[in-house]
């Protein structure tokens, strides 16, 4: 009895929220991710020890070699179903920096960050995805970037440590 009442209430909320979304979408009209808007900031240190910053927008990203992973993410990441994730592999991304890296710190909009050892990149080559099933990721979709490990290819990845490294809402990458 309790449960049915609860579900009914939730359906109500969802209906209201979806209504609000459609209103918002029709109101803004403009394509939300502006192609010139900076989506990702790369921080890296060159051979002379000087700090460098590279800002990438959608155009820059599309110019880079693309990688796609199609898989179902672990349940705890909270994304249901099998999706095709398109983006740039970290190995390709690191080529943008002029220096060899020891580790990569992935920073998210919500303040969360995770540090990846180079071995992860060499071994698993995770993809910094910004499109899901061909659609650009919004912040609400856990965009603009989400780091996708090839969970379907390596059984070893089925650990909390890799789930913790699967950062979403990424906006900064620090190459250290």
């Amino acid at each position: 009895m309790m449960k049915s009442r609860f579900i009914t209430r939730h359906i109500g909320i969802i209906t209201i929220l979806s209504l609000l979304y459609s209103m918002a979408a029709s109101a803004t009209q403009t394509p939300l991710p502006v192609r010139s808007k900076t989506l990702l900031t790369l921080h890296w240190v060159d051979t002379q020890g000087a700090a460098n910053t590279t800002r990438l927008n959608l155009e820059n990203l599309d110019a880079l070699p693309q990688s796609t992973l199609t898989l179902q993410l672990p349940e705890s990441l909270g994304i249901q179903g099998t999706h095709s994730w398109q983006g740039i592999s970290l190995q390709d991304l690191l080529k943008l920096s002029g220096n060899s890296a020891q580790a990569v710190r992935i920073q998210a909009l919500n303040g969360y960050y995770a540090t990846l050892p180079m071995s992860d990149i060499e071994q698993f080559n995770p993809v910094l995805a910004y499109r899901r099933d061909g659609q650009n990721l919004t912040i609400r979709d856990k965009g603009p970037f989400i780091l996708i490990y090839p969970f379907n290819k390596f059984k070893k990845l089925n650990q909390q440590i890799y789930i913790n490294r699967s950062v979403w809402q990424i906006n900064e990458i620090h190459i250290e």
């Binding site: 969802i14 109101a27 803004t28 672990p74 909270g78 912040i139 609400r140």
Partner: protein, 530 residues
Amino acid sequence: MKFILNKLFLNRLFKRPARDSWLTEMLLLAVILMAAATLFALRITQLEMHALAKPHQNNELWYVTNTALELHNLGRVARAAAATPPQADHDELSVRLEVLSSLLEPAEFAPRVSKSILPTLPNALQTLEKLSERTESWSYRLANSADPSQVTQEIATQVDELSEGLRHVVLAVHIASSIAQDNIRISHYQQFALLAWILVALLVGITLLVIKLIWDRQIMKRLSSHLESLNKRLETRVNRRTRQLAESKALLMFILDASPSEAALVNAESGDVLFINKTLLDKLELSSPPPQLFLKSLLVAPEQGEAFIDELDQYGRVDNWEAQVMPHKPYWSSLSAKLVEIEGKLAHLLWGFDVSEHRNLLNLLETQANTDSLTKLYNRRAFYKLGEQVLDGCKRYAHPCSVLMIDIDHFKRINDTYGHAVGDAAICSLSQTLRDTLRDADIIGRMGGEEFAVLLPHTDRQQALESAERLRQAVAATPINSASDDLHMTISIGAAVFNPQQNATLEQMLITADKALYKAKTTGRNRVEI
């Protein structure tokens, strides 16, 4: 006695008592129970493994904490924007609202609530719903309003109140989460306790089985060592028995070899000599055993040899068969033989005893018992014995038969006048004359002193008188001493003829003849009366 004890011991070892079979059944049951317990434990472990196969954590904690932090961030950005309204950076505020919205999206927490702790906290859910509505409203208004600073102001003023509400949610979720964690801990504890008990039971079962195995092994060891000792004892006994047999065989051979009897063991068909003793070898005048020896060839008379073997084959044994043996140097032997089986083949066992001496002695004794030592004629006893037989023969076939009683005339006077030597010579002379004059079939006996008797078979009255007369004349014509011709003697003869009507015995006939002799004596001597 010892053997029986051993047997009892073995029985006890082999036929396990009822108590032991009961124990085995219990152990079998224990093993089955152990297997069941192991299966049960395996199932528990499998379920737990399945649950632990994927990483899972209590996301509610992350969720509410992130939401609280993000709300705090929103407040900070909003306050900063509100402080400098004209140049306010609404982009930053918009991003923060987007991030907060993404957290509060129904897709974000709706699938989780069904199986998590949030549903158990209606107040928390209500607070989150309220926050979600407010955020969506702000987001919409910030994007579409002509004056975003008003929205910024509203956010800055309302955030604290919302934060306060969210603080309670965070607290409640933490408490609920800790309780849930503890429930998981308790469930794990119970499962591990159960597994521990099962393992203890398995350990006990395995220990019992190992003890049983060791126990059985001990029994087997004891049994095998006992069998070994039995074997050894048996072997010793067999050895001793073999030695005893060999010794007794050697002793037997020695005895047979040293025996005065002749002994041999030969194969019945091939005649192969299996054993021959020294006595027989000596008799055969051989120095070493011949390869073959046939029993029948030992006997002098071939037909007797055949008969001997026939009897042996027929009855299996021959006892004290007296025969002359050794054709090259015959002597009398008492032979015994037995048909025996040696190593699956028939053999003749022969032993003989030299009876030549015995036989000679017997002959001598018999002669002495029947003969008068002086004249070598039959004595009285032998005369009677032989005479009865001859008389019986005559009676059966109705032959005539006569007897003569002979006496030397004046024998006392010869003795007294010329001495006993001449008397003996007279008797010898008479006996010689009797032998010379009479037929071989006639039986002559010295009845005692100077008295002789003669049985004349197939002789009637006339023939008897003629014989008697011939005798009287021959004696009268023969000198006593062959050396000197001057000493003569005469005899008187009384005759008697067998009368079938009277059916007289020899005794009666001799009495009749004696009466006739008396008549001859009284009527002048040197004459024949009947």
